[in-house]
């Protein structure tokens, strides 16, 4: 398996009022191979979200190098970065971030609108993905009328429409009850198994992290521990107990 993500001395420093600085990420070296299912875990304020944001090109590091598919992208322009985000990356957020006044279908279509896909193709792919997350009967529902679990499934469908190489999930179960959370994790696991997408899931809860294959522990902006999961929790088999 080739290396998808590689960082060298990656740092992120937030300047605060006065001369105070907060080091959110401190000279981090990291490698993630294509097809891996990785959980980044750590207490709040540990820098795990900052790491995910930089890896997901939502933010830029203060210093260090970031190689995505072997290319150093920290110096890329906003437009080039936007292109990578759109084509190679999918995002699932804790707060779902659907556009409430749009329908399920319109929300899922959104990433494709920023691509050169034809109308016909946009509809076809979007419906296929909605079918995959089991919401075909909710196609024209307004996003605001869905339950939390349904919203997150729409978000997953939206993350998948451009067939990204990698999916970033930032606390995807954080706003959900355990049953809905289980369904979401099961989706991610099935996706990983069946389609081979690389998945990075950020969480502060061990039972979520254990659904991944590898866990990176972050503490005070540094990688504290990087381990393979011994007894991987397969939702389809073990169920999901909070």
């Amino acid at each position: 398996m080739s290396i998808l993500i590689q960082t060298k001395n990656l740092s992120k420093i937030y300047k605060e009022i006065g001369d105070d600085e907060t080091i959110a990420l401190d000279k981090t070296d990291l490698e993630i191979k294509e097809g891996e299912f990785v959980a980044i875990i750590g207490p709040s304020g540990s820098g795990k979200s900052t790491l995910m944001q930089i890896l997901g090109c939502l933010d830029r590091p203060t210093s260090g190098e970031y190689y995505f598919e072997g290319k150093e992208i920290t110096k890329y322009t906003d437009d080039e970065i936007a292109k990578i985000r759109g084509e190679k990356m999918g995002f699932v957020f804790q707060a779902f971030n659907l556009l409430p006044r749009l329908s399920v279908l319109e929300n899922v279509k959104l990433p494709l609108i920023y691509s050169d896909t034809s109308d016909h193709k946009i509809n076809e792919i979007s419906k296929e993905m909605i079918d995959l997350v089991g919401l075909s009967d909710r196609l024209n529902f307004k996003a605001s009328n869905l339950s939390g679990g349904q919203k997150q499934r729409v978000a997953i469908a939206r993350a998948l429409v451009r067939s990204p190489k990698i999916i970033f999930a930032d606390e995807p179960t954080g706003n959900l009850d355990s049953k809905s959370g289980a369904i979401i994790l099961e989706f991610l696991q099935n996706l990983h198994r069946q389609k081979g997408n690389t998945i990075i899931i950020v969480t502060h809860e061990m039972y979520v992290a254990q659904s991944a294959e590898r866990i990176i522990h972050i503490k005070d902006g540094k990688i504290d521990k990087d381990e393979k999961v011994q007894n991987r929790r397969l939702i389809s088999k073990d169920g999901f107990i909070k």
């Binding site: 944001q53 997901g56 939502l58 933010d59 906003d78 437009d79 936007a82 292109k83 985000r85 759109g86 084509e87 995002f91 957020f93 971030n97 556009l99 006044r101 749009l102 959104l110 990433p111 609108i113 920023y114 691509s115 939206r158 451009r162």
Partner: protein
């Protein structure tokens, strides 16, 4: 990303806050409506004036006495047009292109019939005025060239004069008194209403009679020269000037004691006035557009802040800075163009009502005119305002970092 999708998004964006969007564009609506109204009414006024001037006959030229003479300016040498001038201008050898020369002697006089007394304008002229000014008889006849030659003591009354003196009863055949002398009424003119050639309020009689008994002078207040065609108009003017300068012993055109006015000059003088008024009123309306534009910028900035999360999400899923810029800019321009179109409709409606009211209540022939120019500028200016005042908020939106945007609560 295609234009169609940008449009769709902008419409969804705007329709989310319908009442806010409407209030935002109110300034633009009012501004564009006023511009439409002013331009439309200005155009109607212009048409009214041009129409009246046209009714004077496009081949007519006015010869007026006096230096620096205008239709209104105070002047010297007001008695410069004499009988000899009149005769020489009529001579085909002198002015071959003149079909007719209609002389005028004007003044005011008190006219009475039984106990009714009125002070009215008096116009002394010849039988040619009837045809030359498209006058029509209500009853009786106009006077003839013989009446002019013999200084007949007869009058033709304007329709309004007749109504005031005689009411409903017949005027023709009756005697009226002007300056202690009796005149026989031989005809009454049809009322023409407000127009440049209205003689409704005039007493018309042979100029010879007017000179002898009413003004007591030997000069004319005006000659109306009718050219055979538009093409010969300039030649006729040239010949007329030669005759008059010759008669008055003038070598230097600057020393002319008369002036020759064409309708075109008259029209352009009046046209300038309406144009200046239109520009003035339009600039006042333009101020409301600037105020409206600032309102739009304000609301767009609020909207950008409110939708920070949406912007972040769009960026996260692949929107470029330009995509975001275009979305917000399209919203602003769509908003102002909508305002502009509503303004054009409103302004047109108002000017239609205005022209209807003027026609109905002032008795003027004030035609409704749709100002294509106004409509064009309305659309152009409103979209320009959307662009100018939308670009700053749209840039603010496009510059947001996706992470900061997503973090925003």
């Amino acid at each position: 990303m295609r234009l169609k999708d940008t449009f769709k998004m902008s419409i969804i964006g705007l329709s989310t806050h319908k009442s806010r969007s409407f209030l935002t564009i109110l300034g633009i609506v009012i501004g564009i409506a006023s511009i439409m109204l002013v331009m439309s009414i200005g155009q109607s006024a212009q048409q009214l004036i041009v129409g009246q001037i046209q009714s004077l006959g496009p081949n007519n030229v006015f010869v007026l006495p006096g230096r620096e003479a205008g239709f209104s300016a105070a002047t010297l040498f007001l008695d410069s047009l004499k009988q000899k001038d009149y005769e020489d201008l009529q001579n085909k050898n002198n002015v071959p292109d003149a079909v007719d020369v209609i002389p005028f002697v004007s003044g005011a006089a008190t006219i009475s019939y039984e106990n009714e007394v009125q002070t009215k304008k008096v116009a002394g002229t010849t039988e040619k005025a009837l045809k030359g000014f498209n006058l029509e008889m209500q009853e009786g006849d106009f006077f003839s060239s013989t009446d002019v030659d013999f200084k007949s003591q007869i009058v033709v009354l304007g329709g309004k004069v007749k109504e005031k003196l005689f009411g409903e009863s017949t005027a023709v055949g009756q005697k009226v008194k002007i300056k202690e002398k009796n005149y026989k009424v031989i005809g009454v003119l049809k009322n023409k209403g407000s127009s440049a050639v209205s003689m409704d309020e005039n007493i018309i009689l042979p100029y010879t009679t007017a000179q002898q008994y009413i003004t007591g002078t030997k000069h004319f207040t005006q000659f109306v020269m009718v050219a055979s065609s538009q093409e010969t108009l300039q030649n006729m003017i040239k010949d007329t000037k030669i005759v008059l300068r010759n008669n008055h012993n003038i070598d230097n055109p600057d020393k002319d004691d008369f002036s020759v006015r064409t309708l075109e000059e008259l029209a352009s003088t009046i046209g300038t006035v309406t144009t200046i008024l239109t520009i003035l009123l339009t600039s006042v309306a333009a101020i409301s557009l600037v105020v409206g534009g600032i309102g739009i910028m304000n609301i767009m900035l609020v909207s950008v802040t409110e939708r920070t999360r949406e912007i972040g999400l769009r960026k996260a899923i692949g929107a470029t800075n330009k995509n975001i810029l275009m979305q917000f800019l399209t919203e602003a321009v769509l908003l102002t163009i909508t305002g502009g179109i509503i303004g054009i409709i409103l302004g047109t409606l108002l000017s239609f009502i205005a022209s209807y009211a003027v026609t109905a209540f002032a008795g003027l022939n004030f035609p409704f005119a749709f100002s294509y120019q106004g409509a064009f500028w309305g659309v152009f200016v409103s979209s320009a305002i959307g662009f100018i005042f939308g670009i700053f908020p749209a840039r603010q939106a496009s510059k947001k970092s996706p992470m900061e945007a997503l973090r925003y609560e």
